[in-house]
Amino acid sequence: MAKMTLEDLRKLRETKKSDLERRSLEGKDIEIIIGMGTCGIAAGAKVSLEAFLSAIDAAGLKNVTVKQTGCMGLCYVEPTAEIRVPGMPDTIYGKVDADTAREIVETHLVKKKLVENHIFDRPAADVIRN
């Protein structure tokens, strides 16, 4: 396997960038915040992260930021992901396995509809910053 250099990476980014310019989401940022505390990782958050990134890439979405946070206090429904789409309510999804991550991208991010059966509560008080 050929070892990729930083120059290869820059070129790849330029190629992707021009592909992505074709589609814009009103120029506003969509945020995906994935719970990657110990509980999230134990439940498969790393697989969910990979699925989100692949689905966003496949959908050709731009202006999507992906962040991680610690335990959201919803360990019983990990992996969890909070989705913030301009014009839609901030939503915390639970039991976000790879299939659900793909569904969230296709339904919530692209079609602007909530994904049923995976919506859970707000974060616990002890993880909300003052």
Partner: protein, 184 residues
């Protein structure tokens, strides 16, 4: 608690960021079945007393989760090392920084599995902030050493903000490629 070695790395990098480090160096060296990992930072460091308390699972500084009374990151790492007969070293100086090193025999039945280090490195890069994070990965086999080095600054320069989904995906592919080329 942690499933794979990379989870410990991510945990330690997060500790360094929370300690206010501007520079965090992750070094992973594997020779045969032995793996040694060190995380060095220039954060706030710990006094001798704080170093002892950091290994106590019933101690936390209470900043991260204000209602919690436990701090399990380092204690679980130390426990995993003790169970597997590995190496553990914590050297810290108040106001100067910390060097945490640990090692395992990957063939040991009590050692945590290595897991996919590229995933762990990507997760470590996902933490926000203006700190620099450097990764030095070495694999020694048959008297030959292969390695790669990458820094958060280089990736940001090549890809832009690393919290953009498209940048993150490319960074993940790049790290996986670096790992694969070591193993090839």
């Amino acid at each position: 608690m942690h499933a794979v070695l990379g989870d410990f790395v991510v945990d330690c990098v997060q500790n360094s960021i929370e300690a206010g480090a501007k520079l965090i160096k992750v070094d992973v060296r594997q020779e045969g079945e032995r793996i040694k990992i060190s995380i060095e930072d220039d954060g706030c460091g710990m006094s001798r007393d704080e170093q002892e308390r950091a290994l106590d699972p019933f101690f936390t500084n209470g900043k991260k989760h204000i209602h919690r009374r436990v701090g399990l990151g380092l204690p679980f790492l130390k426990q995993a090392v003790d169970l597997a007969g590995g190496e553990f070293s914590l050297v810290s100086e108040k106001g100067r920084g910390t060097v945490l090193s640990f090692g395992f025999d990957l063939g040991g039945m009590d050692s945590p599995p290595q897991g996919r280090l590229a995933e762990a490195f990507l997760q470590a890069l996902l933490f926000g902030g203006e700190h620099e994070l450097t990764i030095h990965r070495r694999l020694c086999r048959g008297g030959r050493e292969d390695e790669y080095r990458i820094s958060r600054g280089e990736l940001r320069e090549a890809l832009g903000d690393l919290d953009r989904a498209e940048s993150l995906k490319l960074a993940g592919e790049f790290l996986a490629n670096q790992e694969d080329s070591l193993e090839a």
